[in-house]
């Protein structure tokens, strides 16, 4: 390191651009081959991991929030809806796991909106890589957050007395289904993240969608206790299929009908909102 650009000590010394040092980096080198779609997506996923490393506070929503949800609803409804909070938990834990994880999918949209606002996506969009890679990679990072949230909820549940009959495999299968659905559902938020003007409006829209979707389902109570018109909505709600399938898996049973519905919904979200997202992404 002989060039004048090298700084030393605490105070940054003045940078003097050195023609030689610049010449070494400006000499046109060989262009490496363009990375594969998967490699590019994984590299963007690595970026998401780095962001978690540097801003660990952003894990608050996948740790503290789910814990609060479990504790709050178990003790709020447990006595009224079942014989005891512990009995209720046996029914309720898979549902609140689904609710919490599906709710945090909206941060995909918020994060994307922030990236666009800051301008970093302009650079990504001028790179000659597979177009969806930046978004797919971002969601890869989010999938990690979903798994983390699910594990946090499961741990709290186990401490409070949740005992899944499906054992380790059943629980893993349940979390697997939840992650598949959440990955697919994230594409709804990438679309809104691209279309809406601000972080706040993304939050607003997502709350409007998520509250009815998660509450008007079989998460908290059995749908048979609801009026007929509401039952109709609840039965069509993808969250209902997801919760039923996850509940069955964790209880060591299988529910092929609901599992099929949930996979169909997932495929639908990817196809419809993935396409809309890429259309917007390319045409801004």
């Amino acid at each position: 390191m002989s060039n004048a650009a090298t700084t030393s000590g605490r105070a940054p010394s003045v940078y003097v651009p050195s023609a030689e040092a610049l010449a070494t980096v400006l000499a046109p080198g060989e262009r490496p081959a363009r990375p594969s779609a998967l490699a590019a997506s994984l590299t963007f996923g690595w970026r998401a991991l780095l962001k978690i490393k540097h801003v660990p506070e952003q894990l608050f929503d996948v740790t503290a929030f789910p814990i609060i949800m479990v504790l709050m609803f178990t003790y709020l409804f447990g006595g009224a809806l079942a014989d005891s909070p512990r009995d209720y938990l046996q029914f309720f834990l898979p549902g609140i796991m689904v609710t919490s994880v599906v709710m945090i999918t909206m941060y995909t949209g918020v994060g994307l909106n922030t990236d666009i606002e800051k301008g970093i996506f302009d650079r990504f969009r001028t790179l000659p890589v597979w177009r969806p890679a930046a978004l797919v990679g971002m969601i890869f990072g989010d999938v990690l957050r979903y798994v983390l949230a699910a594990v946090v909820i499961l741990s709290v549940g186990l401490v409070l007395g949740f005992r899944p009959d499906g054992g380790v495999l059943g629980v893993a299968a349940g979390i697997g289904l939840l992650v598949v659905f959440s990955f697919a559902f994230s594409w709804v938020w990438t679309f809104f993240g691209l279309v809406l003007r601000s972080e706040k409006s993304v939050m607003g829209v997502s709350m409007m969608v998520l509250f009815p979707l998660t509450f008007l389902s079989n998460v908290f109570v059995e749908p048979s206790t609801m009026p007929g018109w509401l039952q109709a909505f609840v039965k069509a709600n993808p969250i209902t299929h997801l919760v039923a399938a996850v509940r069955a898996a964790m209880a060591g049973q299988s529910d092929p009908t609901n599992t099929m519905w949930l996979l169909l919904w997932s495929a639908g979200f990817v196809v419809v909102f993935g396409t809309l997202t890429m259309y917007r992404y390319n045409r801004r």
Binding site: T6, T7, S18, A21, P32, L50, K118, G119, R123
Partner: protein, 338 residues
């Protein structure tokens, strides 16, 4: 390769239009940028410079017209264009949460380098841009000048054939601005074409081989800095007298000496006049010197004298009959439409 990078046209745009709602950001813009040069797009906020850059960098589709970068159409062959260009926008073009090294390694990997090669390239760039010690720090902790340097380092990671720099020195202190200018000169010396947008005539003059003056979404004048300046006058003489009572006489003497209309400023001691315009054989400095001598001979006491380059305002006034008021309302509309 080298010859193709630096000969012919890097950019050819014909009749580009683009509207955001009611606002016409581009109203039929034509551009021809020779390869291997620095080309300046000069204009106030809201003139359409950024929109033009975004269209040419494949970030935005034009409503009409067409543009080619090294012969590739920016709409139908966007991927071919992307392989050869790089953009440093006005906003963050690196991730503020990541460190300098991480940002450069990330981009290196996305451009197809393997991890060790990406790391090596990152270290090289950081050293060349005086950021070695800051490499492990998050970019959000960088100063303004360092931020710009990491932005530009990220943009030349793949040694692009064409580099877009959108207002690269806005908001920088003079020293950082000079550093950026040095870097731009080095970049172009190595065969990369640079399209630079700026609000400062001074900057375009320092760096650009040719300048296009942009107003309301179209090019209203184009040429070398010398051509542009001689078409509007090389500079402006500002005078301050000791005694306001002498001003009418000073006006007469100046008018006679320079042969141009003299402007009386609001300050009752001050006068200004343009010098060095077409049709006068004498250089601006010489004209001004003669005028000063005439004033002294007439017994007029001049306390302060300066000969300045025409400001962007004056260029605009001369070219458009309206001053270069930053059109903030228009700018905000364009901003919102981003």
């Amino acid at each position: 390769m080298m010859s193709e990078r630096t000969t012919g046209l890097a950019i050819e745009a014909e009749g580009l239009t683009r509207s955001f709602g009611e606002t016409r950001a581009l109203a039929g813009m034509d551009l021809q940028v020779p390869a291997g040069t620095v080309y300046g797009l000069l204009g106030p906020n809201g003139a359409g410079k950024t929109t033009a850059v975004r269209v040419l960098a494949t970030l935005l589709r034009p409503d009409g017209g067409r543009a080619r970068v090294f012969g590739h159409d920016v709409v139908t062959q966007a991927d071919r264009v992307r392989a050869r260009v790089s953009l440093t926008g006005q906003y963050a073009s690196v991730d503020e949460d990541l460190t300098g090294v991480e940002n450069l390694v990330l981009l290196g990997r996305l451009l197809g380098l393997r991890k060790p090669a990406a790391r090596e390239r990152a270290d090289q760039l950081l050293a060349a841009f005086g950021l070695t010690d800051a490499g492990a720090r998050q970019v959000k902790k960088y100063s303004g000048g360092m931020r710009r340097r990491i932005d530009i380092a990220a943009s030349i990671l793949n040694t692009p054939d064409l580099l877009f720099l959108d207002e690269p020195t806005t908001g920088l202190d003079p020293r950082s601005r000079n550093q950026v200018w040095e870097i731009v000169r080095a970049v172009v010396a190595h065969g990369t074409t640079v399209l630079l947008t700026t609000q400062y005539l001074d900057e375009a003059d320092q760096l650009a081989g040719r300048i296009a003056v942009v107003d309301h979404g179209r090019v209203i004048a184009e040429g070398t800095p010398g051509e542009l300046k001689s078409s509007i006058g090389a500079g402006t003489v500002h005078l301050r007298l000791r005694d306001a009572a002498q001003r009418p006489e000073a006006e007469k003497v100046l008018q006679a000496a320079l042969g141009v209309p003299v402007q009386l400023e609001a300050d009752s001691l001050a006068l200004t006049a343009r010098v060095g315009s077409e049709g006068n054989d004498l250089a601006a400095g010489e004209q001004a010197a003669r005028a000063l001598a005439d004033l002294a001979r007439a017994g007029i006491v001049v306390d302060d004298f300066s000969l300045g380059q025409p400001s962007l305002d004056e260029v605009f006034l001369a070219l458009t009959d309206h001053p270069a008021v930053p059109d903030d309302e228009r700018d905000e509309q364009l901003e919102a439409a981003r």
